[in-house]
């Protein structure tokens, strides 16, 4: 379970895989990966298409990559990636990162403290890796949470209230 000031530690791949598979069917709510449009390129990675919605505009497509190397003790790694390379490289791929602003709950950075992309939300691994400040009530709790919480928080940020277009 995440604690304030602790450094995330990877878990054994078998543990992470078992947790992911236990949670996958719940998060998919009866859908298959294919039906949801998700891809699992390896045992600990999910690629999830998402769309940002500007008020009155056409949706902008994004690809979210979850990696579960520290899961479930810590939240999944979450990065928006270039859909062709399935990677994120700064500065070439900044336009594949949505700009999320106007809420204290989540924000996106294309090169946070010169360390790369950060989806600044207490339900992503990177938030803890950069030792971002956090209140105890917002900590990742592996006993009650799964990656569906992370996905919902990011989807919420992509709604018309907070999505501000692509990073440039």
């Amino acid at each position: 379970m995440a604690t304030i000031g602790a450094d995330p530690v990877p878990v054994a791949p078998a543990v992470a895989k078992a947790a992911l598979e236990a949670h996958l069917s719940k998060v998919l709510r009866g859908q298959s990966l294919e039906e949801a449009g998700w891809v699992r390129p390896d045992l600990l990675t999910l690629l999830i298409p998402l769309a940002g919605q500007l008020p009155g505009g056409e949706p902008d497509d994004f690809l979210l990559r979850f990696h579960f190397g520290y899961y479930p003790e810590w939240p999944p790694s979450a990065q928006f990636v270039n859909p062709e390379t399935r990677r994120y490289t700064f500065p070439e791929d900044v336009s594949w990162v949505p700009k999320i602003e106007g809420t204290p709950e989540i924000q996106t950075h294309t090169n946070y403290n010169s360390g790369g992309q950060l989806i600044c939300c207490s339900l992503t691994l990177e938030f803890y890796l950069v030792r971002h400040g956090v209140e105890e009530k917002h900590l990742w709790d592996s006993k009650t949470m799964n990656f569906g919480a992370t996905l919902y928080a990011i989807r919420r940020g992509l709604g018309p209230q907070f999505y501000k277009g692509r990073h440039r």
Binding site: E105, C120, S122, F127, R131, H132, G133, N146
Partner: protein, 98 residues
């Protein structure tokens, strides 16, 4: 006791977004949203967390309406389908750097 009297009361559906668990149960038209929220935790087997918020499943916050009864929500066209979700607030841009 109260629930025995509710026989055909309105059905409430709730999703606990932290874990993707869900529950469906009967409530009473005279139950306040706060009471229904409490019942939802019982049905889900969860306990309330300080950062939890109650929303309609379209994402609209129901926190300003916790004192309204289900009948009042129906009459005021607020989350009329009674499909609710509980999410936890997250920390992020508003957190203090350490």
């Amino acid at each position: 006791m109260k629930r025995e009297d509710q026989g055909g009361g309105p059905v409430v559906e709730v999703v606990y977004l932290k874990s993707s668990d869900d529950a469906k149960f009967h409530a009473g038209w005279d139950d306040t949203l706060a009471e229904v929220w409490d019942q939802a935790y019982d049905e889900l087997g969860e306990v309330r967390h300080p950062a939890d918020v109650l929303e309609c499943q379209d994402g609209v916050s129901l926190m300003p309406h916790l004192n309204l009864t289900l009948a009042q929500l129906r009459d005021q066209h607020i989350c009329q389908n009674r499909k609710l979700q509980i999410r936890g607030e997250t920390g992020g841009a508003g957190s203090v750097e350490i």
